[in-house]
Symmetry: C2
Subunit: 306 residues, 2 copies
């Protein structure tokens, strides 16, 4: 008998409406009514005229939530009337699926494809698969897909290399086109240093970020924390399974020590998957044969497989 953690994905639809709060509320309400998916957060930005909705649930819950999202957004958002600072190409602009627990990136890719295929069929919106779901390398990055935006897409979509993965080869008149994909969970993690010297934070940021030779899935920079008179290494951890939080922490500690500086604390901005923290506990406590089935709460939250 194997116990399996209850599968959880995150979905983070970005919709092209951040000013009319009644429109955003109506779309969120449609999602809530669609089934058991949980709405964790809704953030609207008036300047960007864009809202980011954070959802969680299993594949069935998020499939139903995605269909409700498309129906509600297409009914209420007309890109021909839309202005905002953030580049956009669709009413539902981008819809990423993120494996959180008990599911793999391959599972998230299957879900992204399934949602893309069905949304294209039901709503006649062209769908591009991006990120880990991209069928071709040239579509893995969102900015490449979004280039030209809604207004430029009628010309772009006609080119053979921009034929959508699903749906018609012409832009939906009011809802544009949508990118759907799978990507890892992003952890926003900052480490505070016991010094006011910004150069030290900048040097450490440079040492650990991918762009200058550091860890493959780390973005980092040094910033001052004005109120506290100290500095911070501010990071995005783009794939915590491949570049784990404890390894980043230990490397920052080692680099800081070289300057005689200590780590005074760290911060998680937003949410962190349980697995990332359990992996840190496992690492520092050197636990042999660790599995989340050793965790009491996990045993309450599982299905059995015989």
């Amino acid at each position: 008998m194997t116990r399996m953690a209850k599968p959880i994905f995150e979905a983070v639809p970005n919709i092209s409406e951040g000013r009319r709060s009644e429109v955003v509320s109506a779309i969120v309400e449609s999602i809530t009514k669609s089934g058991p998916a949980t709405v964790l957060d809704v953030s609207s930005d008036a300047d960007h005229n864009r809202s980011v909705i954070t959802l969680a649930g299993d594949a069935e819950a998020l499939f139903a939530a995605s269909m409700a999202l498309f129906a509600a957004a297409i009914e209420r958002i007309d890109l021909r009337q839309h202005k905002g600072e953030h580049p956009r190409m669709g009413a539902v602009d981008v819809l990423p699926f993120v494996p959180v627990r008990g599911v793999t990136m391959a599972d998230a890719t299957v879900l992204a494809r399934r949602v893309g295929e069905e949304a294209a069929r039901r709503f006649e919106v062209p769908i591009y698969l991006y990120g880990e779901s991209a069928a071709v390398e040239s579509r893995s990055l969102l900015p490449d897909i979004r280039k030209g935006e809604f207004e430029g897409f009628p010309g772009k979509i006609a080119k053979p290399e921009w034929k959508p993965d699903f749906g018609p080869q012409h832009v939906h008149p009011s809802a544009g086109v949508t990118a759907i994909g799978a990507r890892p969970f992003l952890i926003a993690y900052n480490i505070n240093l016991g010094t006011g010297d910004l150069k030290i934070a900048e040097k450490i940021g440079k040492a650990i970020r991918a762009s200058s030779g550091g860890y493959r899935f780390v973005q980092a920079k040094g910033i001052p924390l004005e109120g506290r008179g100290i500095v911070q290494v501010s990071m995005n951890l783009l794939d915590f399974r491949k570049t784990p939080i404890f390894r980043v922490f230990e490397t920052v500690r080692s680099e800081a020590e070289r300057f005689g500086v200590a780590i005074v604390g760290s911060e998680i901005v937003g949410l962190i998957p349980q697995d990332a923290l359990l992996a840190a506990a496992e690492h520092f406590l050197r636990i042999e044969g660790f599995s989340e089935n050793l965790v009491f709460e996990t045993r309450l939250d599982t299905g059995r497989e015989d």
Copy 2:
């Protein structure tokens, strides 16, 4: 709005039957049918003639499970026929409630009292409150209550100082008496040392255990791991919130270093509450303002309070 983790208690009834597996199965089945309480484990010992059942759930679930447990055990177990190596005094011998998550020791004490009062009323079994629920100091330790066992209890219960907390002041003819209480979660945690020298493990065990001046809620001893040619500090952590696992680990590491010995690994035997591991991650990563509400999965598993 505050988010609260879904409340979880553990209950660990010990029943005086470890040989007739059909009796144990029937009692477990009664518990399962009583409601949403989860049966995590059932361990029977024929020499002790005793079984330990591990349950989890909220207060309502465990109240219902406890009533089902008493009804099924009293129907099937007759202490007048019972022989076994383990001391015992009741068909349901002892029933501890353990706060795991989103609940306090005070909540577990309330639950223990409620179960005790109702079990005494329904089944006419005398109930002693022990552990953190004990009304008087002299009843906090189980061996003190159990002294004399089933056979000696008719004389003991007649004494004013052994009047039960609930129920009649005479022993149930077949089911004896039961101790019910609240206690902290027990973590069985072992640390493996990179040496074959048992004396070092013994010295470290002595340094950290309460009985010889170490941490208040640690029991520890040194044992050899024959197959691996190394030694182990084998421990019970009796209250991980007051003596946390990371502090015990760091102290063992420091003591081992004094002998030039490294920690090569550690083991969790049985289950560990998520809070104990999250506290370790928080400690080693030095996370400021940590709360379990930063954990993605917790946000799916909560009620809202407005």
